[in-house]
Structures are given as C-alpha cells and as structure tokens.
C-alpha cells in the first residue's frame, strides 16, 4: 500500500465570514484575504511537503476555486514547485478539472513539464470537479461528462509520443497542430487517476484501467471499487489493488486522546467544505436526469448532503463528531495501533486498497501538530503497511474466463 499526504491549504481566517454568508465558496468575497497571511500558509504547507519527502510519504495536491477552504487554485503551479523542491517521493495531481479547462492541450503541456522536472515522479489526476466548481470556471454543466471524456482522450494522445503533429476536430475541442514540447518523462504518459462517487464512475474508470480514487466515504469507495473490479473482469482483466485509492482524514497521537484531538482539527476540512450557497450545489446537467428526478421527489434539498456511516446512519458533515466521521470511514484516528487496525479493517471492507491518501493536515491543525501527525504515521504505521494482506478479488475467475473467450 502506497501512502500519500494531502492538504487543501485552507484559509480558516475567513471561515466565520463564510459561515455567516452560508457559503465558503463562489460568493465569499476575496477582499477577506490578507496576502501576507496567504503567503505564510503557502510556505508552511510547502515545508510540510518537504518533510513528506524526507519521510517517504508521497504527496497529493488538488485545486478548488473561489473558496476559503482551499487556497490552491492552480494545481499545476504548486505541483511544479514540488517537482523542484522534493527529490524522492511521487507527486499526485488530483487533479486537473478537465471538463472545466478550456484548453486540454495546455493541461498536457503543464503535466509534461511537471513530469520532466520531477524526473518521472508525476501521477496525473483528471477529475470532473465538484458541482460548485462550475460557476467559478463558467463551465457549461450540460453534457459535462461528454466534454470530460473528449478532453481525457485528447490529453492522453497529446502526451504520447508522435512523429508528427496531429489534428483534433472533435465535438468540443479543435486543434490543427498538436505537438507538445516537452513530452513527459514517463512513457507513453504518466499514470492516470480519476476520482468518482458512484458505481457508474467505477465502471467507466475500470474500462480504461486507470486508478480510481474515492474520497472521504467508505460506502462510496466500496460500491465504486466493486463496480470497477466487475467491469474490468468483463473485459478480461483482473483489477489489482494498485488500481484503487482512498482519501481519509488522519489524526494520530502517542495516545488515543492526542490522535482524536488532532482529528478534531483536521475535521474542520469536512465541516466547512460542504457549506455552499444553494444555487451552486447542483447546477442543471451536472447530475444525470434520474438523480435529479429523485431529488425533486425528495422535496426541498437538505442544506448539506448527508454522509452514510457503515451502520447506515446519515450524518451531517458540517456538525458531525470525530466518532461519527470514524463510523463513516471519513476519519482514521487514535494511537498508532488503532490507526493501523482501522486501515487493516478498511482494506478488507473495500476489497483491497493500493493507495491510502491521508489528510494529515486539514482545517485548523497547526504546523507543529501536522509535522507530528506525519512523523508518527511514517514511523509507527507505514512500516507495517508494506506487506498488508490483500483480500481475494471475487471476479478473478470471471476475468480469466472473459480473457480466454476473447482469445
């Protein structure tokens, strides 16, 4: 199991204003920002990422826009900084919101630079992006996934070696001379990751054999990974655990109380992240018709989408306790043994996990606590994860049969 650390580089100084407005995103005015404070936050997080490089913890970054929950609004820029200041670990961009970026070839160019600069340490996430990212990008929510997959195909082709420029005249994107310099270090292109929320996402990602990443909900991960394994088997492939990634909040301490105290701070991330003004939560077209019919029938939408615990309780993430979050597998917390046991259990629950992304920093967890969170995890838990027993893939036999039938 590979371990990654992720932080959104939040700006908690504006959270009270965001709570008062009922939106941490889109409409929260940027006059609330202090540039000096933002600079300190950037440098502080980069220091933590350099510590990850020493500790052997791989690094993940993402991007969000117009929000006090994430100051990283251009993931390739910070990835490029990491490509220069780190030396050892792999760098995951998760990722570029390619249905919201008007120029996929530019995305390919950005990723190629990062891959070469880091001498082949890039893992490349291509993501749909959350619904509230539509407004800041002014990206058309209609036919969004059609655009996503066309951008995906174009980016992978642009990154791959070719002996002459190629043209692309698609439904959404048009180029006559695609020929990016540099091309990436890794051939034919860096490994691809895609995030998802549903079994349908799992099937789509499984068809392409990319890494499927689920975030912050054990229930979502289980359904999506299973659909991936099943779809891969139908195509004659056995989906190995390295195809599956999960992002969880981490609070680890020398004792349980210390771990939970850290988790309490990190949980600020999930408590603020869903606070969004109503019209930006579900732009028309972003979700499929049946999902929106169900939403209409459900009546006026709950102000915040609920998260399911493993025992079937629906929790409000803006108010949930650390224990609630642990019950939903959104948080792993406790002393090193407890955190290890939670990982072992989760690995079984989701049928085998190749990548664990820990948010060792989130919310208001300060620099000293974050470094301790990372160090303890690296020293006390990671050494035990290398040879974690993986559950059997229930579709392995079906995959063999499908492969044999195809031959």
């Amino acid at each position: 199991m590979k371990i990654w650390h992720f932080s959104e580089m939040a700006y908690p100084s504006a959270w009270d204003a965001g709570e008062a407005m009922g939106s941490m995103r889109v409409v929260l005015p940027n006059s609330l920002l202090d540039a000096g404070e933002v600079a300190d936050i950037y440098h502080r997080h980069l220091d933590e990422f350099m510590l990850c490089d020493e500790l052997g913890i791989n690094i993940m970054l993402n991007e969000h826009h117009a929000t006090a929950t994430c100051l990283n609004s251009a993931v390739p820029l910070t990835m490029a900084v990491l490509a220069r200041i780190t030396k050892n670990v792999r760098l995951l961009s998760l990722g570029s919101p390619i249905a919201n970026r008007p120029d996929p070839v530019r995305v390919a160019e950005e990723m190629a630079i990062i891959d070469v600069l880091s001498r082949g340490r890039l893992e490349m996430g291509l993501v749909k992006g959350a619904p509230y990212e539509i407004a800041p990008a002014n990206s058309n929510p209609g036919r969004l996934m059609d655009r996503f997959w066309e951008a995906h195909d174009l980016i992978l082709k642009a990154l791959s070696p070719h002996d002459a420029p190629f043209s692309w005249e698609g439904e959404y994107f048009h180029y006559r001379h695609v020929n990016i310099w540099p091309r990436p270090w890794q051939q034919p292109h860096p490994p691809v990751w895609i995030t998802g929320l549903s079994p349908n996402s799992g099937r789509m990602i499984g068809e392409r054999g990319h890494v499927a990443a689920a975030l912050l909900s054990g229930g979502i991960a289980k359904g999506m990974f299973d659909a991936y394994r099943k779809r891969a088997a139908e195509l004659g492939r056995v989906a190995t655990p390295d195809r599956f990634a999960y992002c969880v909040l981490l609070g680890i301490g020398h004792n349980e109380a210390e771990g939970r105290r850290r988790a309490e701070h990190v949980a600020g991330y999930v408590r603020t992240s869903p606070v969004v003004a109503e019209p930006f939560k579900n732009p028309p077209g972003y979700n499929p018709v049946p999902a929106n019919v169900a939403a209409l029938k459900a009546g006026p939408t709950q102000s915040v989408a609920r998260v399911q615990t493993v025992d079937g309780r629906a929790i409000d993430p803006t108010r949930a306790s650390v224990q609630d979050f642990m019950d939903a597998r959104t948080v792993f917390a406790g002393n090193p043994d407890q955190v290890y046991e939670q990982i072992v259990r989760f690995n079984q629950e989701v049928g085998g996990l190749g990548h664990l992304i820990v948010m060792a920093q989130g919310g208001t967890l300060d620099h000293a606590d974050t470094c301790e969170n990372l160090r303890l995890f690296a020293k006390e838990v990671m050494p035990r994860l290398g040879d974690l027993a993986m559950p059997e893939n229930p579709y392995a036999e079906a995959a063999e049969k499908a492969a044999a039938a195809a031959d």
């Binding site: 889109v26 002014n138 058309n140 929510p141 209609g142 028309p284 077209g285 019919v293």
Partner: protein, 265 residues
C-alpha cells in the same frame, strides 16, 4: 381540443401539442417547456390551428447529440414550419422560444405571416460589465421565482401530483435551457447585428414584472426590429403564457387578425 402526440420532425422524435382550427400558429415555448400551457394553447386553438413542439432537449423524447445550439433549434423549427399546413402561420415565441423565433426570423421569415415575441431572450445591448439578463443560475429557486413571476407562488409545483415522466421533463428542460444559454449567457452576440432582417410584422410583448430581463430591454429590442410594435402585459412576469394566458392570447389573435393579408400582399 388540444392533444399531444409524438411525431418525427427533422428526423427527431418530437412531442407536439396541437389542436384547433383556423390560421395556423406555431408556438415555441419558454425555458420551462410546455408544462402548464393547456389554458394558453386552448385559448389560441379557438381561433387558430395551433402547433406547439417541445424543442429538442425539452419534453419527453431524446435530445440528439447533434442539436447543440439555439441555431440548431431554429433550423429544427424551420423544418417543422416547412409543413404546407403551416403556410402563412403566426409565429409565437416566449422567452427562450422567443430567442429561437428571432433566430429563425433573421434567417428567413418569409414563410410566416407575422410574429409575436413575448419576453424573448437572445439579444444583448449592454457592455461587458452590464447584465442584460439576471443570473438566475446563481440564485436559489425561491429568489429566481421572484424575478421570473409577477406572483412567485406561480413557481410552486405540487411535485407529488406529477409522474416520473413529468418530473423528468422538468429536469430535462432545466438541463437543456442551461446548456443552450450558458455561454454567452442567454444571448447570441451576432443576433443584434441582423435584427434588420426580421421581415414580417412583429409584436414584442413584455411582462411588466419580468425581473429576468426587464421591459426596458424589450422596448429597445422592439425599436431595433423594423416596424415592430411594443406592448406591456400588466401583472405579468417572464412567462405570460403561464401567468396571463388570456391577455397574451388576446394580443396574439388580435395582432394576427390585423395582419391577415400579409401573405397575400
């Protein structure tokens, strides 16, 4: 008197409401689709042979991939209007459908006898920092209803009384409207340049309480369409066909009667 059927138009399975007899009338709906249009279309059908398609993307049939723009919708409606039974028809477009109608009229309006545009979208007059059209996608439903209706209670629906098919039509209409009017927002930057090509007698009607796109915009639009008449509909928002069916149908039938000889002239 009016009924709904599925017909193939321009190779596309299309839900069409039709009925009545008299001079033909082609109605293009606003962004809610054809829901709650029974009263309005029924009144028109007393004097006209009414044909009202659910535009592709709206209604209960599939939305073909190749229908990607308001101009595609205009060509679709022009294919429908090629039906000899629609010779000399009255073209009526409301809101989003008014945009489609304008797009048809600047291309080729000759087949229509006259046109009525109620609160049409599609033309922008203001500068880079001006919003001609309120950003209803950035408003909560209740706030948008306050702009769209004179009486915001008109926006309330008893969802429990609707079938899954009806609900799907509502969802599809929202998605299609969003898609077609997303960027540029609710207008085609080229359309204003060609308004002089509207070659049939045109009435521009506007809900006095339309807060999505206001009556001043309507006056300016009417001034740029050759010979167009402008009428205000009192106590009415963006959807006169829903909120003031009697007033709009009277305006339409009277205007059509006043331009009955257009095709013969």
């Amino acid at each position: 008197m009016i009924s709904t059927e599925i017909r193939t138009v321009s190779g596309i399975q299309t839900e069409i409401v039709s009925g009545g007899s008299g001079r033909p009338l082609l109605y293009l709906h606003g962004h809610l689709g054809l829901e709650r249009h029974g009263r309005f279309l029924g009144l028109l059908a007393e004097r006209h042979r009414v044909v009202a398609p659910a535009l592709p993307g709206f209604g209960r049939t599939d939305w073909p991939r190749e229908i990607r723009s308001v101009s595609d919708l205009a060509y679709f409606a022009m294919d429908l209007a090629d039906d000899p039974a629609l010779e000399d028809a009255v073209l009526v477009g409301s809101g989003f459908g008014g945009w489609v109608a304008l797009d048809m009229l600047v291309r080729s309006g000759g087949r229509f006898g006259c046109a009525v545009l109620a609160d049409p979208l599609g033309v922008k007059f203001g500068g880079h920092l001006d919003r001609d059209f309120a950003d209803i996608h950035a408003l909560a439903d209740a706030d948008a209803a306050g702009l769209l209706f004179h009486d915001p209670r008109q926006a309330d629906r008893d969802v429990s009384a609707l079938s899954d098919d009806d609900l799907a039509a509502i969802v599809r209409a929202r998605e299609a409207f969003t898609f077609f009017g997303w960027k540029p927002y609710m207008h085609d930057p080229s359309l204003r340049r060609w308004l002089h090509r509207v070659g049939v007698p045109t009435l521009v009607a506007w809900g006095a309480s339309d807060g999505f796109v206001g009556a001043d915009h309507g006056r300016r639009l009417a001034a740029e369409i050759p010979g167009a008449r402008f009428e205000i509909l009192a106590e009415c928002g963006h959807f006169p066909a829903i909120e003031r069916p009697e007033a709009l149908s009277t305006l339409v039938t009277d205007f059509a009667a006043g331009h009955a000889a257009a095709a013969a002239a």
